[in-house]
């Protein structure tokens, strides 16, 4: 008889509950569980995304033993944990002694490792190394939402829970394609629409979500701020805003009105490419709905003007009073299963766990007392600044935990250069990856399915995930590896299990103080804030319209529109925008090793192009083509589709051969330091000899697999 283990899906941030069926120590199938968000439904990644645990070596191999090389030109050798930890500890100590603690950078992990491991990592960075240099992939993702919402409303997370979407009367979906990135969120939107809600989609592409909408605003790429300002302008000039709400619960109304004055729908028509009357129609639908929810994704956050747009979107919610109650709100829907959790638990350069500032003396004292060591007050470096800081000689060691920066970050060549310049690179992961090619030492960790802990899904929902199978090889849980390294560095950390870690952290974080393993098992999930053990958790934030800002009011904000940094020109005439596809996930180490998901789509990945652009370049559907930017050149397969707009091409960022991040630019939002993945200039070239091109892809794929120990 198969054993049935209830756990949480390791993919997107929806946080679906899932049953794993285990027989003879192997998973044999997955079935949906009774989670509040997924209600016994799963998407294809949930159903068919677990067989990477069998290490089938389809794309990369599992790391099963510590690997070390004393010289970067050498091959890796399998070593004992003692040798690997000893080497890393000595090197870190030397670098700290020579250059100071701020020359060391570390990452948290938004993926399978869990909240406890992130807590341990940031404790290691702050207490053992003595720096706040910790960040993670939220920086390249919803970093802009965290910064923007913290300023206007006081909390960077989704204001309302995912199940509430179903009962809203209007969903404004901005730069977000839930059908592709969060199928289980899309399911709620479809249900809302069946119950009569109006769905408005803002996207330059005719996405699957645009197909399932009542109004599609096909804006020109990179014009979000102009459109958001115009929506605000209509709310004000047509007196559609909620005067009483604005007076009682918001600040900055006069400045806001001044800032959006010139952004009439007619004025932004040329900038955005959307007819004025359509903008007016969208604003009216949103304002007139008795409840309305704004959801957004990377189409908002991955621009050099992103934080401003997030603030602008939250202002639309404030102006119409769509906050502080059920079925409304603002929703930056997080992409990775535990990216909310990594933020929640201090894997950020300015925040301790529980969103407590490292600059606040009282808070720092509290952590100093708990951890028994003096802590640094200065915020640390952002992940995306590391390539530049490495070039300036300011960062000398990089401890990368559960991330593949060469695949996920902009301008891959720049990332590789930075890694090559480091005196020490530590990679801790479950799979060999492109970043690990630059490592000195590799720590092999247990995977989702092989350990337990707590994840935070996108809607602040804590859920316990459980161990289903025993790991193979000489691997350890992430928190244990970090504790060993910390101990070797002279700051001893010793825990017997994740619950011990959870007990330590919840006592330091008022937001999570009432959440225990026992209560999580009893209730299935608890949404923070949950200040004490009698508290049921918080479905929606800002009850009574009390915002977590210093004044207690929501801040209205609008900024002048700024165009993206690298505009198309004669040499690079097309805009490249990077997107996602449903069957694969993030850097693809997991889904690239799943048979069903690989069967549906495989290397080198597609580049989507409008038929008019394809005709101009003489490109045929399914043929291979070169794509070049000022930073790199890759090969990908042409997908001709009327669904994409003329002048822009789209690539999904999962592919290792058609790797779009060889092309993207590291231009950053000035506040959140989130890169402009959604906009850079490229050119496409036909490859006359398609036989050569197909051979080239196969050759590259097999070379890559060899490097990944397959």
């Amino acid at each position: 008889m198969a054993k049935k283990v209830l756990t949480i899906c390791p993919y997107c941030g929806s946080g679906c509950q899932i049953y794993l069926f285990v027989e003879n120590g192997e998973i044999i199938k997955a079935e949906p569980g009774p989670g509040r968000t997924n209600e016994n439904e799963l998407c294809l990644k949930g159903y068919y995304g677990w067989d990477f645990l069998k290490n089938p070596k389809r794309l990369t191999a599992r790391l099963e033993r510590p690997l070390l090389r004393y010289n970067r030109t050498d091959e890796f050798k399998e070593v004992s944990w003692e040798e690997a930890i000893g080497f890393a500890a000595k090197k870190l100590a030397d670098i700290k002694a020579k250059y100071g603690p701020n020359a060391i950078m570390c990452t948290g992990s938004a993926r399978g490792s869990g909240n406890e491991a992130n807590y341990i990592m940031q404790k290691f960075v702050r207490a053992a190394i003595g720096t706040n240099n910790i960040d993670h992939c939220a920086r390249v993702c919803h970093g802009s939402s965290v910064a923007g919402l913290a300023a206007t409303l006081g909390s960077g997370a989704m204001s309302n829970s995912i199940p509430e979407i179903e009962n809203t009367k209007c969903v404004l979906i901005f730069g977000y394609n839930p059908a592709e990135s969060h199928p289980i969120v899309a399911r709620r939107i479809i249900k809302a629409r069946e119950k009569g809600a109006k769905v408005i989609v803002v996207d330059p592409r005719f996405t699957e979500q645009a197909k399932i909408s009542d109004l599609w605003l096909a804006l020109k790429n990179g014009t979000n701020m102009a459109l958001v300002n115009a929506l605000g302008n209509v709310l004000i000039t047509e007196k559609l805003y909620n005067k009483k709400y604005v007076t009682n619960y918001t600040d900055g109304f006069e400045e806001y009105c001044k800032a959006i004055e010139k952004y009439t729908p007619e004025y932004v028509e040329n900038i955005t490419g959307i007819e004025a009357k359509t903008i007016r129609q969208a604003a009216r639908i949103y304002a007139e709905a008795e409840s309305a929810t704004i959801l957004w994704g990377m189409g908002v956050t991955q621009f050099t003007q992103a934080v401003d747009v997030v603030k602008g979107l939250s202002s639309l919610a404030l102006l119409t009073g769509n906050l502080g109650r059920e079925n409304v709100g603002v929703g930056p829907v997080r992409g990775q299963n535990n990216v909310q959790g990594a933020c929640d638990h201090g894997a950020l350069p300015a925040l301790f766990p529980g969103y407590q500032s490292v600059e606040d003396e009282t808070i720092r004292r509290k952590f100093e007392l708990a951890w028994g060591v003096k802590l640094p007050a200065k915020p640390g470096y952002h992940l995306t600044e590391i390539p530049r800081l490495a070039k300036e000689g300011k960062v000398k060691a990089y401890y990368i935990f559960g991330e593949d920066l060469v695949q996920s970050d902009p301008d891959a060549a720049g990332v590789r250069e930075a890694l090559a310049s480091m005196e020490l690179v530590i990679v801790q992961d479950i799979f060999m990856n492109k970043t690990a090619l630059h490592a000195d030492v590799i720590f092999p960790a247990t995977s989702w399915g092989e350990h337990e802990g707590v994840y935070s899904s996108a809607d602040r929902r804590f859920q316990k995930f459980n161990k289903a199978i025993e790991p193979k090889g000489d691997v350890k849980p992430d928190w244990e590896i970090i504790s060993l390294l910390s101990t070797a560095l002279g700051y001893p950390m010793k825990y017997n299990n994740t619950e011990e870690i959870w007990e330590e952290l919840r006592k330091l974080c008022p937001l999570y103080a009432g959440v225990t393993y026992k209560r999580l098992e009893e209730f299935g999930s608890i949404l923070w804030p949950c200040p004490d053990e009698n508290h049921p958790g918080t479905k929606y934030l800002y009850e009574g319209n009390k915002f977590a800002t210093s004044s207690g009011k929501g801040l209205l904000f609008a900024a002048e529109y700024r165009p993206p940094q690298e505009r198309p020109d004669e040499e690079y005439p097309l805009i490249l925008c990077t997107v996602r596809e449903i069957g694969h996930y993030s850097v693809r180490t997991m889904t690239g090793n799943c048979s069903a998901l690989q069967t549906l789509s495989d290397e080198p990945g597609y580049i989507q192009i409008n038929p008019k652009d394809a005709e101009k370049l003489d490109l045929a559907d399914q043929e291979l083509a070169w794509i070049t930017s000022r930073r790199g050149k890759v090969i990908a397969r042409i997908l001709i589709t009327e669904r994409v707009n003329i002048g822009t091409v789209y690539m999904t960022y999962h592919w290792w051969i058609g790797a779009c991040n060889e092309l993207t630019i590291d231009a950053l939002d000035p506040i959140s330091k989130t890169p402009e993945f959604k906009y850079c200039a490229v050119k496409l070239e036909l490859i006359a000899d398609q036989v050569f091109a197909e051979d080239y892809v196969q050759q590259e794929y097999s070379n890559l697999k060899k490097k990944m120990f397959c």
Partner: protein, 160 residues
């Protein structure tokens, strides 16, 4: 009237979960590891046109052109559906040409001589206790089985 599975394109997100579920439901042991792009042949296929995304599968036609076209009676009306008679197909492809939906495939099974051919089309998962696997797994409930056309609420609603 025959039964059939139909999709609501207003709910289909194009995720292709149904395609995998279909292939696994018709495999010998339901094992994931045997799937490969070369042999992947679902009985329903998600089609993405300019403004429409929907799975397309056999409509189990009342006056089925495939049944009429087959010279070997490998396709028959049976149990309120169009079903394949195992081992009867010679691979002439007349049904492929006849089907107005492109919902039939013919594949060569294995490497045996003489060649063994199989007709691959929706069989409404008639050997499966839970009914059609595609319906069960669709995350947005975009698929449903029509038992009696005149009483199907969802289809009648769309007629209005």
């Amino acid at each position: 009237m025959n039964n059939f599975v139909v999709a609501d394109s207003e709910k289909c997100i194009g995720c292709r979960t149904c395609e995998i579920a279909c292939v696994l439901a018709h495999s010998k042991d339901g094992s994931l590891s045997k799937l490969s792009a070369k042999t992947f042949c679902p009985r329903l296929k998600v089609v993405k046109a300019a403004t429409l995304t929907t799975p397309v599968q056999c409509r189990h036609c009342e006056n089925a052109p495939c049944v009429a076209a087959c010279p070997k009676q490998a396709l028959v009306q049976n149990d309120h559906s169009v079903q394949v008679v195992k081992g009867a197909c010679v691979g002439c492809k007349a049904c492929l040409a006849a089907c107005p939906y492109g919902a039939i495939e013919i594949v060569i099974a294995g490497n045996s001589t003489p060649r063994r051919v199989e007709v691959i089309k929706c069989d409404l998962c008639r050997d499966r206790e839970d009914g059609p696997a595609c319906i069960k797994t669709c995350p947005t409930n975009a698929l449903h089985k029509v038992y009696n056309l005149s009483f199907d609420r969802r289809i009648n609603q769309r007629k209005r």
